[in-house]
Symmetry: C2
Subunit: 354 residues, 2 copies
């Protein structure tokens, strides 16, 4: 009998940031390939469309506001914010008493950030200087929102592609700032703090060092950042971009860090698009220190990409059934996914055609 080998045998892997396990079924990657390799979708997005409610000079979704004739990035309050700044304080039930109906009033502010005036570009196709403007806007928003007295946390994220619920193809992201630290960043901070107090070192500094040494899960890197398919990845081609040295938040970013983030953001998304010759869908989100002053001593800046595609531009992984009711599951190993992404070019297929 062959000994246990995680590239061959079913196993669980543990995510130290969440404390949760994912089931990995490597032998299933040998299933007959039922999906197909797609051709690049015919790409006739116009540069400008008068009906694009995120376009420069256009009317927004509610019809009453007009966008300025912006030249690079543009930020505004979401027209249908999930959070409001003026919710009355209040609560129902007490979790410490094991009450079963527990609700807490919350406040916040939701912003939208357009990445470019052009409708027909994606992050993967943008230049590093143009993406540097996006990074600058994030840094600004993080600083401005953190000064609001009712804001404790700023969640920067983006949904790309209709498969990921993005209803407008215009390149944009969102910023939801909130009066509390949401579940996922709160759990991550608690686990980072626990590791620090037990080991004396920072978890993600140790992890970045380990991954650089081992190499097999690395996608690409630059001076400040490392992009890896994390050992505990759940989504088929999940990628985590983390700073090699701990940086708590945008507050500590200098010129180099800002340039390097723009650089690696382009390179990771470009590899994604080239993987299946498609405008690769994903949700992206940034985890960093909350703005309420907590976590400064443990928070470690990272950017997570959760893409649903599995085998082609149209064959996706579904997080359903067992995954929703019992435990996350994947077939392809993180190591196999990393090889595939390492083999992708950093020249976008649309530019290569030119």
């Amino acid at each position: 009998d062959s000994p246990f080998d995680y590239s061959e045998h079913p196993h669980r892997r543990r995510n130290p940031l969440t404390g949760k396990y994912v089931l990995v079924s490597p032998h299933r990657a040998k299933r007959p390939w039922q999906g197909s390799q797609e051709d690049a979708p015919s790409d006739n997005r116009p540069e400008y469309d008068p009906d694009d409610y995120l376009g420069p000079g256009n009317s927004r979704v509610n019809g009453t506001v007009q966008n300025p004739d912006y030249k690079d990035t543009f930020v505004f309050d979401n027209d249908f914010q999930a959070l409001l700044s003026d919710t009355p304080d209040g609560a129902v039930g007490n979790p410490d008493n094991d009450d079963l109906l527990v609700a807490r009033a919350v406040k916040g502010k939701c912003r939208v950030l357009c990445f470019s005036p052009k409708l027909n570009v994606t992050v993967a196709e943008m230049s590093v200087p143009a993406l540097r403007k996006v990074v600058d806007a994030w840094v600004d928003e993080y600083a401005t929102l953190s000064k609001l007295d009712y804001i404790a946390h700023v969640q920067i994220f983006g949904n790309k592609g209709s498969m990921m619920g993005c209803s407008n193809a215009h390149p944009h992201g969102q910023i939801w700032s909130s009066s509390w630290i949401p579940e996922a960043p709160a759990t991550e901070l608690a686990n980072l703090a626990g590791y620090k107090s037990r080991k004396g070192t920072h978890m993600l500094e140790d992890y970045a060092k380990l991954e650089e040494e081992v190499g097999e899960r690395v996608v690409c890197s630059n001076t400040t950042f490392l992009a890896v398919v994390p050992f505990w990845a759940v989504w088929p081609f999940e990628v985590m971009v983390l700073s090699k040295k701990r940086i708590p938040s945008f507050e500590s970013f200098g010129e180099q860090e800002k340039d390097d983030l723009a650089d690696i953001y382009r390179r990771v998304t470009c590899r994604y698009d080239n993987l299946f010759t498609t405008l690769f869908p994903y949700s992206m989100g940034i985890h960093q220190a909350p703005t309420d002053g907590t976590g400064q001593d443990v928070a470690h800046f990272n950017m997570q990409f959760y893409p649903p595609l599995l085998r082609s531009a149209t064959v996706r992984k579904f997080m359903v059934g067992f995954e929703l009711l019992a435990e996350a599951q994947r077939d392809l190993t993180a190591e196999q996914a990393a090889v595939r992404l390492r083999n992708c070019s950093e020249v976008h297929f649309n530019d290569a055609k030119k």
Copy 2:
């Protein structure tokens, strides 16, 4: 200023089974209705299709095995199991030492259960006696798999609809039995045990009583079971079916409980189909006692339905961006969803047409 009202103001609600909060944004339900009420999809599913690899007498997906000419239910080993019975034991890393690469070999057995020989029926359209055969098969599988020495937990679930990753329209579900207790049921058991030790009563008995008294989140009920949109629902029309009195698992089901489960399974899914006059997609899963002997004193049988549809047969809720990276979010309140489901008929739209 009006005081905090959870039917009006943004808030978080706590799920006592997971310990996690969900963000609720009731004011957003006032967004312009962008989806449309669809007509019933033209329904020309044949009763039998020779290419249906789950059909009676047909060849399975791998081409080598033939299904028997079954008359009601049919159970077999999944042709591409995510778990295997013969994985060598082994492990990498130790979570107690804060190792960053932690993997554990696991074993299991994955089964598929066909609910009916007919391709053109869904659970919502099946009769209670036919669904009773499905319940009997679940009870049998739970008992048989629990006798395997390497099995600690039996997860019964089903994905319905291509939107939920179900690649075959033939009515069927899955059973993944495993050598460990997966994340979600393990967390639920820990929270049920904590409540019991602190309060002396059973959480879900207290909850069923409370919901029956309040009434506003109840969908329907029978002697044994209550179907509610739980206070902490994440999916727009999420439903939990729970036994009013604690039943640890199928092991304790008598004739009445089996009949009542078949009855409420049909009634909940029929209301779902009637809500948007469509074959309503969902993932369904059963939480009950593990088969390794643990949790017998606290486990409480329940069946969860996680459906993605939000406003019509084609407008869905996406669990993306903020939801994946930060915290679950919903617009419609649980109370609003329950009213909608209570107003649905328990006669299927396909039968009403006849």
